[in-house]
Amino acid sequence: MNSSTLVLAFAVFGASAVEMVEALTIVTAAGVTRGWRSAIEGTLAAAAVLTALVIAVGIPLARLVPIDILRVVIGALLLVLGLDWLRKAVLRASGHKALHDEDAIYARTVADLSSRPQGTKASPPPGSTGGNWRHGPRDATGFAVAFKGVFLEGMEVVLIVITLGASSGHLALASCAAGAAAVVVSIIGYLVARQLSEVPENWLKLGVGVMLTSFGVFWVGEGAGVRWPGSDLMILVLVAVFAVTVALLSLGMRKLGPSRAPAAVGSGHSS
């Protein structure tokens, strides 16, 4: 396994972990308010659909599309995704955008689900009382919310697995890295029996954004016919360049402060 393969595995693992933490919040809210059986069944159903998508799209993509075209298109997709993650992460790191708050999202989801008509009583987390969720009653809303949450958060993971995996010829490795992240987050979520609000999501997004952007730049270049010095080692150089860029941007944005000046005291204007 060379350095670029390791970076690839870390990028997929990190991206998957971030999305799975967000999905866990929704699944936990659905489980607590609508019943764990439906929440877990919805999660497993979404995971099965996502796995099928990776196999149905990833394998033909890697085999049938000419590699140069694949790298330019997929590299461009990675670049768009990586830059979007970096943009949001820099704005959050510099205080211009609120941090992703899993506790607030959990509270909102619980309030919304609790207000809908229930067929079942709310139940405690499976890890806390050892309750037998498999024999609990089913709830269509709980299933739908868990399925939709895992599916939507998982779609970005699927895109990253397919783009990174197909372009590098490591689809199996990318899939395993994503699966490992899902398992790790699920186990932690089961043990603590609540949403994971302590995970440093913004730091993870900064790191993953740098890696996705670097891979995007590298593969668009490779597909277009650019001869990168050092070949795969250039990915590490790009990671370093973009990491420094993002650090400087975050510091600079923090120093710039908010875009609008606060209203003067006693001026009668409100911002």
């Binding site: 461009a76 670049l79 830059l83 510099s94 277009a224 010095p229 790009l238 860029t245 875009s259």
Partner: protein, 70 residues
């Protein structure tokens, strides 16, 4: 038919949100980047400087635009 149309609309919306979202300048920047990569692919030294600079420029511009909107 309605279910198929709804599924297609959802699919189109997913890609529009993914590619453009609330930062269309990043999509434009990516297109500029791809064009530059194709145009300069045989000019080794130029490529090493110009390509990363294009990415940095569009990222910085997008962050500044995000600050202005916040």
């Amino acid at each position: 038919m309605t279910a198929v149309v709804r599924a297609l609309e959802a699919f189109a919306k997913f890609w529009r949100d993914f590619l453009i979202g609330d930062a269309p300048e990043l999509f434009v920047g990516t297109l500029v980047f791809v064009g530059a990569a194709l145009a300069f692919r045989h000019r080794g030294g130029v490529v090493l400087v110009v390509l990363p600079l294009i990415v940095i420029a569009f990222l910085a511009g997008s962050v500044l635009r995000g600050r202005a909107k916040s």
